[in-house]
Structure formats: structure tokens, C-alpha cells
Symmetry: C2
Subunit: 244 residues, 2 copies
């Protein structure tokens, strides 16, 4: 449903939520260069580099929108606190992701670091002004936003599954495809805790644990230290992912 309930100002309902813009050449190893040097320069001129230890809150739900952030190093999570006190993780954020989604001038999610993190902090109004002047730059953000929508839709498909092992396998599959955490020798890094995983997958902590056990027992996936996974039986893994 895309009907905003905005009252007076046309676009006061949200600052753009931005994610995935690679504006720093060092951000990843790929050769893609989405922005011109001038655009990159304009962005970095606005940005402040911030370093944060694990478990730091970047901003809280309902806080006034002030900055847009771009992850440079580390992994973060964006989540919402539900009335019952439970949490739902909307997304994990990786280097290159842009975040700071707001509604009516307030952030909609709380964002917290999982690992040590380095990120760019850009004042929202300055960024908005820049985007209004530079349509090409804005188009990069627009493209990244659409990517985020696709990720959200995949998340929805995961959540609609009933079996815990299948959800977990789909999550692993997404991580692997994005290669966001880096796959060292076939090992997929899982920086987040079982609790984070449970809150992202819409499962209880115990169910996630049982799912890993089941995947291991069935010889489909290997886990190491709880923070790394390797797909052992590719055929059955793919079958599980696609068996919905």
C-alpha cells in the first residue's frame, strides 16, 4: 500500500532510506565504479568517518532524522521493537549499504553494530540538497533503494516458509550469493548471534539452534564455532532452498 498519510508537506513523510551505494572505491574489490570522481568527492566532503565498537547503537527508532549513514567496515543490524518487547530484525547491513530510513522525520528502525564498525555519517539535509542538484548521483541512490526492496521481498518469502531449516538455508543462500561477508574457502561467515538470526528469521532462538543441528545431522551444512557455515551437500542444499 503506497498511500502516504502525509498532511502538509509533500515529502515530509520520509527521508530517503539509502543503502548499498558504493561511493568509496575501497569499499569492495569489485571493479564497479558507480560514481564519478567529482561525485565521490562531493559525498566525502559531506561525510564524517565514525568508528564504533560492537553493540553500539547508531540511532534509535523514533529519534529525529539527522544523518544518513553508509557502512564502510563491519556488520550491523536494523530492527524494530514490538509492543510485546520482542524484536524483529528487518535487515543486516554490510559494507556499502546505506541506511537511515525515516518516516515523518523519525527513524523507523534502531540500528546497532554487531562487529566493530566504521561508517560514514552524512547530514541528511546536505545530502538531500546534493541529490536534488545531481540527478545522476541521485539515480545511483534510487537504484540502490530498489535493490533494498528486492531484498525485503526475499525476506518476506523466507518468513512465509514454515520450516525452520528451510528458512535458515535460504538465509545462508542469500549470504552466499551476496558474498557480503566474504567466503573464505567455502566458509560463509555468520557474524551475528543466534538471537539475531532468530529475530531476522522470525523464529525462536531454540528453533534456530535446532535447525543448525538438523542441517548438520543431515549432512547438508557444516557449522564451526557457530559463526561460520559451509555447504557440504550442494545438491540437497539447493533442493531444500527451492523446496517451498
Amino acid at each position: 500500500m503506497a498511500r502516504p498519510a502525509q498532511a502538509t508537506h509533500p515529502h515530509n513523510d520520509s527521508g530517503p532510506s539509502l543503502r548499498g551505494v558504493h561511493f568509496d572505491k575501497e569499499t569492495d574489490g569489485s571493479a564497479q565504479t558507480l560514481l564519478t570522481d567529482e561525485q565521490r568527492q562531493q559525498l566525502t566532503a559531506l561525510a564524517t568517518l565514525i568508528s564504533l565498537p560492537p553493540r553500539s547503537i547508531v540511532y534509535r527508532e523514533d529519534a529525529d532524522l539527522a544523518w544518513i549513514f553508509i557502512a564502510r567496515q563491519g556488520v550491523l543490524k536494523a530492527f524494530r521493537e514490538l509492543p510485546s518487547g520482542k524484536r524483529r530484525v528487518a535487515a543486516f547491513l554490510f559494507p556499502g549499504d546505506v541506511f537511515g530510513l525515516a518516516e515523518n522525520g523519525r527513524y523507523v528502525n534502531t540500528v546497532q553494530t554487531i562487529t566493530s564498525t566504521v561508517l560514514y555519517r552524512i547530514p541528511n539535509d546536505a545530502l538531500t540538497e546534493l541529490l536534488r542538484r545531481d540527478a545522476d548521483l541521485q539515480y545511483q541512490f534510487l537504484a540502490k533503494i530498489t535493490h533494498e526492496i528486492r531484498e525485503g521481498q526475499r525476506h518476506s518469502i523466507v518468513l512465509a516458509r514454515r520450516d525452520a531449516a528451510g528458512r535458515f538455508a535460504m538465509f545462508l543462500s542469500m549470504l552466499e550469493k551476496n558474498q557480503l561477508t566474504g567466503t573464505r574457502g567455502g566458509w560463509i561467515q555468520l557474524p551475528m548471534s543466534r538471537t539475531d538470526l532468530a529475530e531476522y528469521l522470525g523464529l525462536s532462538l531454540e528453533s534456530v539452534s535446532r535447525a543448525t543441528s538438523a542441517l548438520t545431522r543431515r549432512g547438508i551444512v557444516d557449522f564451526e564455532g557457530g559463526h561460520a557455515a559451509r555447504i557440504v551437500d550442494r545438491a540437497r542444499f539447493e533442493k531444500l532452498v527451492n523446496t517451498l
Copy 2:
């Protein structure tokens, strides 16, 4: 989406998916005017008006991206076909919504009309070019896209619930807030079938039916003809929605 099929360009991974831009003054009764007359004129100059009967396919998943659409009248659904043959409805589309989300130059969802529909069809490449020239116009699209992300996140929260009645109640709540279908005397219109609802809520058709029965039996919601709902006990309704 809006990624023209330009091969050489850096951001070929996706064109933006656009939805929710109100570029037609007649689209709804609200006084909001997001675009200037000139922008409106530029858009309408590119658009073709299309009328479709119920159950028409607007475009299919994996088809080559060619047009972006904006709903003017009627209700549609965007869904994906899963390997098992099951369907997952990603979103319902209402007047003012923009759709045509693509990835790698192919639509990611199938879009089908539910009611009789009138929509604008805009060639993707022409729209992209226009957006690249007009940063203000593009910003409206960007804002609408962020709105779509928030909707997707709400959808995820709904899907993470375990109880069918709660999911259904949250859906009703969203419909009511958006007032998309028009609430005539407190009645919320439900143009979609129970099957559509089930595929959106991640439930079986039977569970949706049982959920409506339960809500009626408990005196919380009234249903009429299966395509209209009215909240009888507001307090308990809100409690149900917020009890997660």
C-alpha cells in the same frame, strides 16, 4: 525497472522500481500536489492510458522490462511464483502506486489486476531519461520508493506473527490507515479474494477463513459478503494488532 537496457553503463544491476507517485491530480481526493504542472505534463506526455478487465496480466515475472506503470483506478496484486508452484503476493497495488520493479532488465514479479483497472504506461527508457534530467521529479520517486520499503517491512512483521487472526487484523489495520479502498461508513473494502489474502499473509486459504470466523465469533470484526469488513470492538481490535 528503470534501468534502460544500456549495456555499457555501470549500474546495470537494476533500474529503480517506482511506486506511489501521485502525478495525477485526480488520483485521489487529498489536496497533496507533489509535482509541478510542468512535471505532470512531462509525465503525461510520455504515458499511455490503459484499461484492463479483472484478472488481466499486466506483465509477467522474468519478462523484459519495457514499461513502468502507475495505477489510476482499481486494485492489482504483485506476486511471485515459487518453485513449488505456490504463490506469494508481495503487495497489493492501489491508485497512485507505481510499479514495474525489475532486476537485470527483467520484471521480478507478475502483476495482475484484481478489479477493473485503469493505469498509465510509461516507456522505461523515456522515464529514466526524464528522471536523470529532473532531479526534483526523481526525488518524488525516491521518496515513494522509501515508502514502499516501509510497507515491505510492515509486511515482514505481519508474516513473522504466528497467529492467523493477528495477521489478518494487522492487514485490516494497514488497509484502514491507508484508506486506500475507501471506508464507507466504517466498512473497509476487501476487493481481493481469500486466496489472494492467504498468499499475502503467508497462510493457507482455510486459515484465512478460520481467522475471519474467529474474529466474527469473538465480536471483534464484522464481515459482509466476504469483501467488506468493519471493526466492531475497537479496543480489542487494537489489542490484537499490538499483541505480538
